[in-house]
């Protein structure tokens, strides 16, 4: 399928490709959001440790 430049320009204008997407500004996480994220990080560390123990036990057939 061939496309000439005018076809590309037409669809670029009609679909808004000629302008960049709207800027995304940075927001600061609220304290409760930060607490949840830190909690999830601790959860990851704890689960990785537990998993190591668990797999060792399952592998040993306990």
């Amino acid at each position: 399928m061939t496309h000439d430049k005018s076809d590309l320009d037409a669809i670029a204008y009609s679909e808004g490709w000629h302008v960049p997407p709207p800027e995304v500004t940075c927001v600061i996480l609220r304290p409760w959001q930060q607490a949840v994220f830190w909690g999830l990080r601790l959860y990851i560390i704890a689960m990785l440790a537990v998993m190591a123990v668990g797999f060792a036990q399952v592998a040993a057939g306990k």
């Binding site: 679909e15 302008v19 940075c26 927001v27 994220f37 537990v50 668990g54």
Partner: protein, 457 residues
């Protein structure tokens, strides 16, 4: 400002100077729009085929080599059990989670990693990226396990097939443009369905399968619902259904394909097709393993090699070859999509041109880290004494451990009205998504307790 659109003139009706990536994307858009404006059945069919991609790829890529073996371990451990009907709600969970990435990508025209970095800053962005890259490299190892085991079945040394697979996986990403990359990937992904005819031809016990849905079997789980092996398989099955790479992959894929708000409905259909394929394949593998591998010793830690040879012993050499081909395909397609997800995520975090449409010499930092990650995984599997069975199940469970944090970012973005306007999540969808997060945490938590304190539950 998006790097790819920096060169575009903002003046309406003036000629536009396109960057390389954007030009290819707009060509892809034009192809779709021409099909949309045309009539006739063939045209509609072509349009339907042109619009499928991200959803099918993410869900069929989800049935990766590790997933295939996890389903086989599940069937071998519990036979034709409640895990068969369980695949249906898992399919709904996958749809629930992945649909959010479609809206986020189509509305914002930005990838998942980019949204986290730009909205919540580098600190949290770096955390999510480290989680993703670590999980991706581990998951890629399980994909090369599939390649290694299949190559042994076909009596080709894995020292030849693994490098060949690495070149194929990275080659399609580096040298193809998005449209061709997607079509080639879809072609490979279609072979994921090979497990369905294999199961149909294996004379499955339909009445026993039916009873798993009605509960006539009592849904009895040997060892109990709180046994470590049961909870581990539940976590692993959830982990092989939804994983962090899928969020990053599908959103970036939607963006690189150039899908917009008006394409959300078509993208949902694409995802539904993918979920249907995923569930069909998962059930097919559990059924064949449940019927023929049930009660094999040490079933929860069967490795790929044992599964494939057991299939051969029970169903014949032909079935073994088909299963091995399926395993090879599952490893290849998953490696292709996971490598792409790494490339997109790192490209977005580094704010470099980040499109499969961009030539490698123009965006080294988009391609190089992903190729290196895949090389590490492939190189590891070329070592002689890798603990394959252990690695496989570990990776599936690790995916569930990373998932709640990844889902929390997703939910926060999907509730950001400034970004998504009317496309924000409904209350029902939020409630369901939070329930999924809690389910993941509870399953893993129970598994952890039962593993460390076997008599506590």
């Amino acid at each position: 400002m998006s790097v790819e659109t920096e060169t575009c003139s903002p003046v309406i009706a003036a000629p536009i100077a396109y960057s390389e990536g954007l030009q290819h994307r707009i060509r892809d858009r034009l192809r779709i729009e021409r099909l949309r404006s045309g009539g006739g059945l063939l045209n509609r069919l072509a349009l339907g085929l042109a619009l499928v991609g991200p959803g099918l790829l993410v869900m069929l890529g989800d049935n990766d080599a590790g997933g295939v073996i996890t389903y086989a371990q599940t069937g071998a451990t519990y036979g034709l059990s409640l895990f068969i009907p369980l695949m249906i709600p898992l399919g709904f969970i996958a749809y629930l989670v992945q649909e959010m990435t479609i809206r986020l990508g189509a509305v914002t025209r930005r990838g998942h990693a980019e949204m986290i970095w730009k909205r919540y800053g580098k600190f949290w962005g770096a955390f999510s990226l480290i989680d993703l890259v670590a999980a991706n490299i581990l998951t890629l190892m399980t994909e090369f396990i599939g390649v290694r085991v299949a190559s042994e079945i076909f009596r080709v040394p894995y020292l030849i097939t693994i490098p060949f697979a690495f070149v194929l996986v990275t080659g399609v990403l580096v040298f193809l443009k998005y449209y061709t990359w997607e079509r080639v990937s879809l072609f490979i992904a279609a072979f994921n369905l090979i497990f369905v005819p294999l199961t149909l031809l294996s004379h499955p016990d339909w009445s026993a399968i039916g009873r798993t849905f009605t509960g006539e079997t009592g849904w009895v789980v040997p060892g109990g619902l709180f046994s470590a092996s049961f909870l581990m398989l539940v976590s692993a099955n959830i982990g092989t259904t939804i994983a962090p790479w899928q969020l990053f992959f599908q959103q970036s894929c939607v963006v690189d394909k150039g899908l917009l708000v008006k394409d959300i409905k078509a993208s949902r259909r694409d995802l539904m097709l993918g979920v249907l394929g995923m569930v069909l394949v998962a059930v097919a593998i559990i059924v064949v393993a449940g019927q023929y591998l049930h009660a094999l010793p040490n079933a929860t830690s069967l490795d790929d090699d044992t599964v494939v040879h057991a299939i051969g012993a029970k169903l014949g050499q032909g079935a073994m070859v088909v299963f091995a081909l399926g395993l090879l395909e599952a490893g290849l397609i998953a490696a292709i999509v996971i490598t792409a997800s790494t490339a997109w995520a790192i490209g977005e975090a580094l704010d470099v041109p980040r499109s499969v449409n961009v030539s490698p010499h123009r965006s080294l930092y988009f391609y190089a880290p992903a190729v290196m990650g895949t090389a590490i995984a492939a190189g590891t599997l070329m070592l002689p004494n890798v603990p394959i069975g252990f690695l496989n199940l570990t990776v599936q469970v690790i995916a569930t451990v990373f998932m709640p944090a990844a889902m929390l970012f997703l939910l926060m973005l999907l509730n950001d009205r400034e970004l998504l306007g009317e496309h924000v999540n409904s209350h029902l969808r939020n409630a369901l998504s939070i329930s999924v997060m809690i389910l993941l945490i509870v399953c893993n938590g129970l598994y952890g307790i039962s593993a460390v304190f076997p008599n506590a539950l």
